[in-house]
Point group: C2
Chain length 190, copies 2
């Protein structure tokens, strides 16, 4: 019998993928994907909402960690962003939830959990707008979200089209952020 912590973690882990793919996936879907019985999931998460919120919280924590890590290095904001994309790319699907869950029925409850991430993202963008490396065509908060979403849209097509790579995602999201083409491609190569 696996330790409780392990099981709970695996459920959370798997749910990050499953619900990231389809925000309306059932508890049964999550359970079988986690190699566990439905009843067990309810043992750890009394209701579907609890699971979803726990999920949002975990994703938020992980992402904030990554954002803090890349922001710790002293460099231009556009370079920080490129590094951020490189960090999330290998496990891009894990962090898709943030986009998927917002559009779910729990939208309201989720927002609070994700607010810190939104802020961190916006802070980075704002820094770039202040030092002139990023554009001002949209408010920092919106621009951050948009660039984030762009990465995942590209990541998705990369699943079926192998000419699409991290570099594509980096370049494209940098363009959204208002970085000049030449500079964007240079950063994407690194």
């Amino acid at each position: 019998m696996p330790s409780p912590r392990t099981t709970r973690t695996r459920i959370l882990d798997v749910a990050l993928d499953v619900l990231g793919q389809d925000p309306d996936a059932s508890m049964a879907d999550v359970a079988t994907a986690a190699g566990v019985v439905r009843r067990t999931v309810y043992g750890h998460f009394p209701s579907r909402t609890d699971l979803v919120l726990a999920l949002a919280e975990q994703a938020a924590t992980e992402l904030q960690g990554i954002l803090a890590e890349v922001a710790a290095v002293d460099r231009a904001a556009d370079a920080t962003w490129a590094d951020f994309v490189a960090h999330i790319w290998p496990v891009a699907r894990r962090y898709r939830v943030l986009l998927a869950l917002r559009r779910s029925e729990h939208g309201a409850g989720i927002h609070a959990l994700l607010a810190p991430v939104d802020q961190a993202l916006a802070d980075l963008v704002r820094r770039g707008q202040d030092d002139g490396t990023l554009g001002r065509h949209l408010p920092a908060l919106v621009l951050g979200q948009l660039a984030y979403a762009t990465v995942f849209t590209v990541a998705e097509t990369a699943l079926t089209d192998d000419t699409v790579t991290v570099a594509s995602a980096t370049t494209t999201s940098l363009l959204v952020l208002g970085v000049p083409t030449a500079r964007a491609e240079e950063l994407a190569r690194a």
Copy 2:
């Protein structure tokens, strides 16, 4: 008693909004929004799937019309795109369905209906890539979808933030397409 055509049209019309907002909205939701009883909706569309497909078809037809219209004028591809955004902006929410429905359970059936739009979009982008006005950082098909999605993401924030306008959406989507900042802003002003 309204003519059948009128009722059917209104249901379709309203459903374009309702399902655009929430792809999982119920038949009852659509019915009440259309000022009609649930049973009536089933009179026109035997199943939910029929309604959704009819919807996709209508949206596809309308969009193809607009795309053909803006493409008829002889000018650079980036200018055509800017004009396209200007055309769909006033009723942006109507055309959100294309994005919302793809992610729904009917995804498969929908794709066929939307393929022509995807093609038209890709054709425009490809033309721009050939004459050098648009970037080559992504395949034309992907880039078209992405720029399209960008318009709606921006449109959504415009609902609550009135500093965000058509110009913002035009500029941003042009940046995604790889248009230089100066040129993008110039086109957005027109």
